[in-house]
Structures are given as structure tokens and as C-alpha cells.
């Protein structure tokens, strides 16, 4: 019986726009969560896929000893696809030329993820294939063709075997980003290892097992494997912590997360304000219904049905709109990335619908309970029940809900706590400040009858309501300013990492006597280049006399440690330098004493290894360089910007290392297409040097920066809409009171222009004050967030101190004025009728 009435009331309320803001707020929260989580998930899946490409699989197991056959057999039983690889160095011989090549032998399943890029001959175009060479043939990297003076179709000797050269090997998905083996690479069929007779007991070889499958299968397998992992076996996952792309994408994900949190926060504020307003608007009808005999149960049912309907519609609308937006956004990003973004799973759907539901329930619960409690006596005493509007429980419940929503969305308690606590402080400061400002305005003593004095009088009259409005405006402006500035900082930081003149080619294996002629070649051809670094490889053998293997074995188990273990157990490239390289920062200790020219060899270590190896200043590291032990004293730890595409070193030794070990030199240069011919000549003249083209990496980094900038812009626009919604809901909440004022002022003879200007000034003042406070708070909060969450050097942004108040005044006055313009246009009689 009440259902028909409830539907009738609902459809009318909806058409009258009474439910529009609630609808928009829930829909916006759902849309924000859905589109952000879907896009983030799709990008993450893509990154995971790309990361898998980097290791040619989803997981890999590495060792310098052969694996038990049982490991592969068990992996198949767990449903995983597998491939085997073996790395070794071997001599290649052709046309009387002998050269040491770096051989990778692979089974047919390789690569499990990603593609191998090859060319049919040196002059033809590169293309991608899914598997390596057939038995009896080899693929050689370009450098070997010059060194061995061979062409595709020729034969080369590799170890004891004779193989047909069938393709030019351009790139494998898991080719090391920077390796001393350079471009002397050979890809061989795994079955041919025996033919080469290059692998004998005691040979220095490196085994790898590759695995691919779904996460469940992989983790099940790892659970089986973990107890039997040996200390020389490393299980490696997806993320390479030192990858430049990994760093940047991590930041982008954090930004999207932060923006999503702000979007939710704003939508939640809009929802809380509009739900309260809606319920307040229903006080009279409810009092009337109760007076006319409506039972509490019927009234409760009517309004709960309203809430259910508006929640359902807004969640459906939010999901639909979110789906369209994320599809358009993801398609655009995918086109930009030149790749397909995998579809997101059900998580965004469930999470956003759930957040919409929680939003609707929690923010309307207290106002609804207040509404059900409205006494019928209100029909006679019109202000009865108004005191219910200011409820600490509502504020408390709303804050708790916002906190839970943020936590649910981010899954990160620390970030949520930082943001939430800082927002609480902001609210407290703003409330106190707003009261002071309004009180100060009272003493201004402006001319009676002027628009300004009317505006200030209005602000003072509604001091409490205005303080809340001011907080909402300031919060909205703060979050928007915050994101705008952060977006600019992140993007400019990225662009600094990959400047237009960044080197795009690494030149390695340069002999000492080749340094001067190559420098001359660069100078003659006007090629910009980096310094020439002496490079040698060595591995950590002991720390303070304690064997390294025993030291790391204490940290077995966690993936984090295993990644680190793999890092320290390999032979990194080392150098010696007189001064700290650009982009490095000493975190502890001091740069070499007396310029590192004393008797003791000193070493500056990457701070990531400080924790892994448990190092401290003064420790002695024993390095094995060409099986020769070298003791170096740790004198400093350095922060290294692995995000930059510049040469970076985990250990830098003091210059007194010179002459103690054989070295080659390493440099980087920015090459253009016009330099191709000269470079070919250079390679022919100095066949032992190797060049690594990092153009692709730079282009990929630049493309991702551009793509993430787009995503950030998209998110920012959602947050702007949320901010506008908060503003609209606040203005709408005060609309009835404004109508009353307009009626009174007109009755008292105030001219239309005076009222209009007063309203405009009131909003300008509110927006200006809110903007100024928002700018100050944003800038201080940015200092902390940039350093804590984004690892960017914090700095102040004086321009937002002007941008804040100006944009705040413009934004608030334009939206506010537009909202009340209709009220201004109506005649007094019309307004009186609307007021009922």
C-alpha cells in the first residue's frame, strides 16, 4: 500500500532534482573507483605482462649448477609451462677470426613470454618470432657478423660443433639491459649443447628454468619448491626493483591511488552534504505525514525505498559510465602504448559497487534516522527538529566511513592514515581560521548599503554554516591544487630523467688505447657523449673476512631478499671515480678521503646493498676480480637514481684502484640517424667494442610517461568534477535560506544589482579565503608527500599561493553564482511560493 506512494514520491523528488546531488555523488564515487581501479589494474596487468617479457616468463629459477629433473616434472604437474636455458661463454671461429661469444642455449618453448626479434640478414627489416633456432643452426648478434666476417648462410664453429648461421639476432626479451657480453651474443638450440662439447664438468655455466602459468599455479609450485631451494638457486619474480620503468610506473600507480582517494573523499563529502540536505528538506513532509496518521513504519519504508532506489540507480549509472570512460581511456592508452591492455577482472566491479553501497548507507543513515524522529508537532512549531541537523554522530560516522572507504580502495593503511590525519588537522585549522576571519570582517566597517558590506554581513550571519562551506571548498580546492602541482612535479621529474639529449647508445668493451681515437671520432662527428668510465667486473667474496655465501644464506625465504640475493651474488660492473657521479647522493659517510689517492682502497656502496649485506661504514669488503682478492674499505653509502637512463654503479672504488686490475672503458652517446655510417666504420675499425642501443628503452620510457600523464589528466578531471559537486551540493543546501534572504531584501527595497553583486562577492570571498588556505596547506602537505611517497625532492611552489585564492574565487563564485542565478531571476511572489 505504501509502495505506490513511495514510488510516486520518489519519481517526483527525482524529477524535481531533490535527489540529483545524492545520485551524482554516489555515481561519481562508483565511477571514480571503477574507472581508476579498472585502469590501474589493466595497466598493472600490462606491466606484469611486460615484466614477464623482461624475464621471458612469469618466474625463473637460476643457478650455476644443473637442476634436478624433478623440478621440471613437478612444474608440469602443477600445470605450468616450462623452458630451459643455459648460458656459457665459448669461442666462435670463422674466416680465420676467433672471438669469445656469449651463448644462450634454449629449448623450443623459449620464450614463454615476449618475443625474439630477428632479421633475415643485416640489411633487412627486423621482425618477431616465438621460438629460437632449430637444431644445427645458430643466430648471431650483429657485432659477430662484423667480427667473424660472416653473412647469413655461412657456417661458424662453436666449440666442437659446426653450425649454420640462419638469422641476425636483434633482441631477446630477457636480454640483459646492460652486460659486458655486449653484442657478441649467440642463440643456440638446447639440443646442440652436446655437439659444442663446450660444457664440461667445472665449466662456468649458468642454468635457468623458466615458468609460466596463472598466479595460483605459480604460487602452488613455489610453495612446493621453497623448502627444497638450495643456497645457489634463486627464484625470481616479476618486478625488477631497479628498472627505470618500474620506478616510474610505481610512482604513477601511487599517484592514481592518491587521486582516487581524493576523488572518493570529495564524492563522500558531496554525498554527506547532499544526504543531510535531502533529509532536512523532508522534515516538513514527514511531520505532515505523521500528523495525517502516517505510521513510523510506513514513513521508514518509504524513505528506505527511496534510498535503495537512488543507490541502485546511481551504482548502475556509475558502473556504466565508469565502464565507458575506462574503455575509452584504456583504448586510448593502449593505442598510445602500441599494445593491448588486458581486461580487468571482477575486482573493480565488486569494489566500486560495494563502495557505492557503503557510501549511500553510511552517509544517509544518521540523517535518515533523524528524519524518522521528526515529531509531528513540527507542523505547528516550524523549527522543531532543526537542532537535529548538527549532529556529532553524523560527523563522526561520516569521517569513519570516509576512512574505511579510503582504506578499502587503497588497501594501504599508512597512506590512508597520513591523508586522513592531515585532513583532520586541516579541518580543525580551517574552522578556527574561518571564525577569526569572519570576526575580523566585522570590524571592517564598510559603507552601509554597499554590496561588499552586505556580502560580509551575510557571511557573518551564517558563520557556522559558512565555516563548514569554507572547509568543504578549501578541501576541494586543496585536493585539486595538490594533484595539479603533484602531476606537474612528477612529469617534470620524469622528463628530467629522460631529457631530449639523453644518450641513446652505450659503448662498452673499449680498450684503453681506443679511448682517445673514439673521443676524437665523437668530436669530429659532433656527437654528444658521457665520460669514459673504467669498468671491470667483480663479485663480493667476503665482508670483514666472513664469507659472503654464509652471510646471505641467513636471509633465505622472502622474495624481497631473494631478489636482493640474486643482485649481490652476480658479478656487477664496478668502476673507480674521482668525484661523485651526477644523480647520486651520499646517504652516509663521506666521499673518498684525499680524493681516494691514499694507500687503502675505499669503496662507495649503493645504499640498497647496505641493508642486504648488513654493511656499515668502516667494513671491509673483499672483492674477487679475475679471481684476485681485493680488499676495500666502505667509506660511504650512496642513493642511486636507477630511474635515470645514465650509467649507474652499485660500487664505486677509489681512484687508487687504477693499475691494479685490467679494465675496459665504457661511455654513452647520443647518436642520430646521420651517424649510422660513421658508427659502422667505427665498429669495423675497432671490432672489439660493443654498442648497446637503448633507443627503444628511451622511447618506451617516454611513451609511458606520456601515457601516464594522460591517465593522470583523466583522473584529475574526475577529481575536478567531484570538487564541483561538493560546491554545488553546498550551495544547494543553502538555497532555501538564500531565497528567503532575497525575498526579505527585495521587500526592504534592495535593488537587484545590489543583491546580485553581494551574492557574487560573498562567493568570491569564500572562494578566495578557501583558496588561500588550501594553497598554504597543499604546499606544506606536498613537501611531505613528495618526499615520503614519491621520492621526489620536496620544494615550495610560490605560484600556487596566488593560483589558490584566484582560482578559488573564480571557481566558487562562478559555480555558486550560476547556482543561485535562477533564484535571482524569479520574482518575489514566485520565491514565496517555492518556499511554501
Amino acid at each position: 500500500m505504501w509502495v505506490k506512494l513511495a514510488f510516486k514520491l520518489f519519481s517526483r523528488e527525482f524529477r524535481r532534482g531533490e535527489l540529483t546531488i545524492i545520485f551524482a555523488a554516489i555515481a561519481l564515487a562508483v565511477l571514480t573507483v571503477f574507472s581508476l581501479s579498472a585502469i590501474t589494474e589493466r595497466i598493472s596487468l600490462n606491466i606484469a605482462q611486460k615484466s614477464s617479457d623482461f624475464i621471458a616468463s612469469d618466474r625463473r629459477l637460476s643457478s650455476n649448477h644443473a637442476f634436478e629433473p624433478q623440478l621440471l616434472k613437478q612444474a608440469s604437474q602443477f600445470g605450468l609451462a616450462t623452458a630451459q636455458m643455459l648460458y656459457f661463454d665459448s669461442m666462435l671461429f670463422a674466416n680465420d677470426e676467433l672471438v669469445l661469444g656469449s651463448v644462450k642455449a634454449t629449448t623450443a618453448a623459449y620464450p614463454l613470454r615476449g618475443k625474439i626479434t630477428i632479421k633475415d640478414n643485416l640489411a633487412s627489416k627486423a621482425y618477431e618470432v616465438d621460438t629460437g633456432p632449430k637444431a644445427g643452426s645458430v643466430w648471431l648478434s650483429e657485432g659477430l657478423f662484423y667480427t667473424l666476417k660472416v653473412n647469413v648462410g655461412d657456417k661458424v664453429e662453436l666449440g666442437a660443433g659446426n653450425f649454420n648461421v640462419t638469422k641476425v639476432l636483434v633482441k631477446e626479451p630477457d636480454a640483459p639491459f646492460f652486460s659486458l657480453s655486449g653484442n657478441k651474443r649467440v642463440l643456440l638450440n638446447y639440443a646442440d649443447i652436446v655437439t659444442t662439447q663446450a660444457v664440461q664438468p667445472g665449466s662456468r655455466v649458468f642454468h635457468r628454468l623458466l615458468f609460466a602459468g596463472n598466479e595460483q599455479e605459480l604460487s602452488d609450485y613455489y610453495a612446493w619448491l621453497k623448502p627444497q631451494l638450495k643456497s645457489n638457486q634463486n627464484w625470481q619474480g616479476l618486478k625488477d626493483r631497479q628498472s627505470p620503468l618500474g620506478n616510474n610506473l610505481d610512482r604513477a600507480e601511487r599517484f592514481l591511488l592518491l587521486a582516487g582517494l581524493f576523488g572518493i573523499m570529495l564524492a563522500a563529502v558531496a554525498m554527506a552534504v547532499s544526504a543531510k540536505r535531502y533529509c532536512e528538506r523532508q522534515y516538513d513532509p514527514v511531520a505532515m505525514m505523521k500528523t495525517l496518521g502516517g505510521s513510523r513504519k510506513v514513513i521508514r519504508n518509504i524513505f528506505l525505498l527511496h534510498l535503495s532506489l537512488v543507490t541502485t540507480f546511481s551504482i548502475v549509472a556509475g558502473l556504466a559510465l565508469g565502464f565507458v570512460l575506462q574503455t575509452i581511456g584504456a583504448d586510448y592508452l593502449a593505442t598510445f602504448m602500441g599494445t593491448e591492455l588486458p581486461q580487468a577482472g571482477v575486482r573493480p566491479w565488486l569494489l566500486s559497487a560495494f563502495i557505492g553501497l557503503v557510501c549511500a548507507l553510511m552517509f544517509s543513515l544518521k540523517p535518515l534516522l533523524d528524519l524518522f524522529d521528526i515529531p509531528p508537532l513540527r507542523v505547528l512549531r516550524r523549527n522543531l527538529g532543526d537542532t537535529l541537523a548538527i549532529s556529532r554522530i553524523h560527523i563522526g560516522l561520516s569521517m569513519l566511513t570516509i576512512f574505511v572507504l579510503m582504506w578499502l580502495f587503497s588497501g594501504e593503511i599508512v597512506t590512508t592514515l597520513i591523508l586522513f590525519a592531515s585532513t583532520l588537522v586541516v579541518i580543525a585549522v580551517l574552522f578556527a581560521l574561518s571564525r577569526l576571519l569572519f570576526a575580523a570582517g566585522r570590524k571592517l566597517g564598510l559603507r552601509p548599503g554597499s554590496s561588499w558590506s552586505l556580502a560580509i554581513a551575510t557571511l557573518q550571519k551564517r558563520a557556522n554554516a559558512n565555516a563548514i562551506q569554507l572547509i568543504s571548498f578549501a578541501l576541494a580546492i586543496k585536493l585539486m591544487l595538490f594533484l595539479v602541482v603533484l602531476k606537474n612535479d612528477i612529469i617534470s621529474d620524469w622528463q628530467m630523467q629522460v631529457p631530449a639529449d639523453a644518450p641513446n647508445m652505450f659503448i662498452i668493451n673499449i680498450a684503453k688505447e681506443e679511448v682517445t681515437p673514439i673521443k676524437k671520432f665523437f668530436k669530429d662527428n659532433n656527437i654528444a657523449h658521457e665520460d669514459f668510465y673504467p669498468v671491470f667486473s667483480g663479485r663480493v667474496d667476503a665482508v670483514n673476512g666472513e664469507e659472503f655465501a654464509r652471510r646471505v644464506s641467513k636471509q633465505e625465504g622472502e622474495e624481497k631478499d631473494e631478489n636482493a640475493r640474486e643482485g649481490v651474488s652476480r658479478e656487477p660492473n664496478l668502476t673507480w671515480l674521482t668525484s661523485l657521479p651526477e644523480g647520486n647522493e651520499i646517504t652516509e659517510g663521506e666521499w673518498f678521503t684525499d680524493g681516494g689517492t691514499g694507500d687503502d682502497i675505499e669503496v662507495s656502496v649503493f645504499d640498497g646493498w647496505q641493508e642486504t649485506l648488513g654493511l656499515k661504514i668502516g667494513d671491509t669488503i673483499t672483492l674477487l676480480v679475475n679471481e684476485q682478492p681485493i680488499d676495500a674499505k666502505v667509506t660511504s653509502f650512496r642513493k642511486v637514481d636507477w630511474g635515470s637512463l645514465k650509467p649507474n654503479f652499485v660500487m664505486i672504488l677509489s681512484p687508487n684502484m687504477a693499475g691494479k686490475v685490467p679494465v675496459t672503458y665504457f661511455s654513452a652517446a647520443k647518436l642520430h640517424d646521420r651517424d649510422t655510417k660513421g658508427i659502422s666504420q667505427l665498429l669495423q675499425r675497432y671490432p672489439t667494442i660493443s654498442m648497446i642501443d637503448i633507443k627503444a628503452q628511451i622511447e618506451q620510457a617516454q611513451a609511458i610517461i606520456a601515457q601516464v600523464s594522460l591517465a593522470i589528466g583523466f583522473v584529475l578531471s574526475i577529481v575536478l568534477v567531484s570538487g564541483a559537486l561538493v560546491l554545488i551540493s553546498q550551495v544547494q543546501a543553502s538555497l532555501a535560506e538564500r531565497m528567503q534572504e532575497v525575498v526579505i531584501l527585495r521587500t526592504l527595497g534592495a535593488k537587484g544589482r545590489l543583491i546580485k553583486l553581494a551574492t557574487l562577492y560573498e562567493f568570491m570571498l569564500l572562494g578566495g579565503i578557501a583558496g588561500l588556505v588550501a594553497a598554504i596547506v597543499s604546499d606544506v602537505a606536498l613537501l611531505v608527500i613528495q618526499q615520503q611517497l614519491f621520492d621526489i625532492a620536496g620544494r615550495l611552489h610560490p605560484y600556487i599561493w596566488l593560483l589558490g585564492p584566484v582560482s578559488g574565487a573564480l571557481f566558487v563564485s562562478s559555480i555558486g553564482y550560476l547556482m543561485v542565478a535562477n533564484t535571482m531571476r524569479q520574482n518575489t511572489q514566485g520565491l514565496l511560493r517555492k518556499l511554501g
Binding site: M288, M289, K290, L292, G293, R296, L377, V379
Partner: protein, 237 residues
């Protein structure tokens, strides 16, 4: 219950209302006693703040008295909870207010049907149309309150008050928000419909002329019943 009290549709005895303020307890109404017979029209008059609206709220069961009792058609209001009082209002009482109190999102016809719908009666449309016709608004059935003048809104409120044929009609300053022409029209309508339906009318007003149109006038002053006088209608009716 005596035969006499059964004839009295409203029986008020020792009615007192106190409210707590910052300064302490404040007595709004003190020891009010009177009765209203079925079909009678009674005006409650008094200056602003005299307590007449409070008395109306207690008579209609919108509020609970601090002391004393109101019997409404035989039911002691103090024994009823809020839901039961709402049920009683739905069955026996109609209201007209100074500020019309129409639901803005419902049309004139829907506003008139509202009490019947809240009581679960969905066949009230014919009666609602008839009532709106009686108040001269048959051409305004589909109009919303914001599309009606003040006088028209109050006529809708009067039509709503008579839906479901209530035994008692409470009217609180029904013409106070209207100009004299519309006010007069509303007063005429109210008394005419009251007479046609045989409803008991309790009218709160500060307008002596309007009060005189009732059969009896209860004078409230400073929260106390000052006197009960006869109106012009007493001699007519």
C-alpha cells in the same frame, strides 16, 4: 464512562503543559478543563504566546501533556503511544494549518489523497476529486503547490482535511497567511464543509470576528482558561 462524556467528542481535564528551559521549568498551560460536543464548532482564542497552539497540539495528540488528560472520541490520549495516536489521527482527525503544509512534490489531487493513502485506502480518488470540486479547484487537480496561489493552496489543504470524513477538524489560524478576500473565502468553505459533513471543528485563531462564527469560544490567557463564551453560531445552530 457516562452518557454525557460519550456525547463529548473531546473531553479535557486538568490539562497542564510544562517545558524545561535554561531558566528552569516553564508552564505553558495550566489546569485546562472543557469539553466539546460532537458536531460543535469551537474557537480557541488568545493573544500570541497565550498557549492556544500548544493546546491544539495536545488536543490533536501531536504532543503529550505533562499532566491531565484528553479524551478524544472516548480514547484517553495519555494511554496511547505515538503509533496509536497516529492511527487515531488517521481515522478521526483532519487538519488545516496556517502555512498550508502541502507536500511540494505531490499534485493538488495527490495531496488530498495523501491521508487516505497513508491509511492504506487507494480508492480515495473519487472522494478527493469531489472535495477539490467543492473547494473550486476541479481545474487544478494536476497542479503542484508551487503552481498555486496561497488561497488555492489553503483550499487544497481544506479538501485534504475532509478526506476520509474525519470526526474532528483542527484548524490553526487557517486564514492568517491570506489576504482578506481569500481569507474570507477559506473561512466560508471551512464552515460550509464542516456543516455538510457534521464534523466537530476546533479552530485556533486570534481573530475575534472569525471566532464569533463558532458556537463557543474558549479564551486562553497566560496559559489559563480565562472564560468560555458563546459565538454567533450558537444562536443559529
Amino acid at each position: 464512562m457516562s452518557v454525557l462524556s460519550q456525547l463529548n467528542v473531546i473531553q479535557v481535564s486538568g490539562l497542564t503543559q510544562r517545558v524545561n528551559t535554561l531558566e528552569g521549568s516553564l508552564t505553558i498551560l495550566s489546569d485546562i478543563n472543557f469539553s466539546v460536543k460532537s458536531g460543535e464548532s469551537v474557537a480557541i482564542v488568545g493573544a500570541s504566546g497565550s498557549g492556544k497552539s500548544t493546546l491544539l497540539s495536545l488536543l490533536a495528540g501531536l504532543d503529550v501533556a505533562s499532566q491531565g488528560e484528553v479524551h478524544l472520541d472516548g480514547d484517553a490520549l495519555s494511554t496511547l503511544d505515538e503509533e496509536a495516536r497516529a492511527q487515531l489521527r488517521a481515522e478521526k482527525i483532519g487538519f488545516v494549518f496556517q502555512s498550508f503544509m502541502l507536500v511540494q512534490s505531490l499534485t493538488a489531487l495527490e495531496n488530498v489523497m495523501l491521508p487516505a493513502e497513508l491509511a492504506g485506502d487507494h480508492d480515495a480518488k473519487a472522494q478527493a476529486v469531489e472535495l477539490l470540486d467543492k473547494v473550486g479547484l476541479s481545474h487544478r487537480l494536476g497542479h503542484y503547490p508551487s503552481q498555486l496561489s496561497g488561497g488555492e493552496q489553503q483550499r487544497v489543504a481544506i479538501a485534504r482535511a475532509f478526506i476520509g470524513s474525519p470526526k474532528i477538524l483542527f484548524a490553526d489560524e487557517p486564514s492568517a497567511n491570506l489576504d482578506s478576500k481569500n481569507g474570507h473565502l477559506i473561512e466560508t468553505l471551512l464552515f460550509d464543509l464542516n456543516k455538510q459533513n457534521g464534523t466537530t471543528l476546533v479552530l485556533v485563531t486570534h481573530d475575534e470576528q472569525l471566532a464569533k462564527k463558532c458556537q463557543r469560544i474558549i479564551h486562553i490567557e497566560g496559559g489559563q482558561l480565562e472564560k468560555i463564551s458563546e459565538g454567533v453560531a450558537a444562536n443559529v445552530g
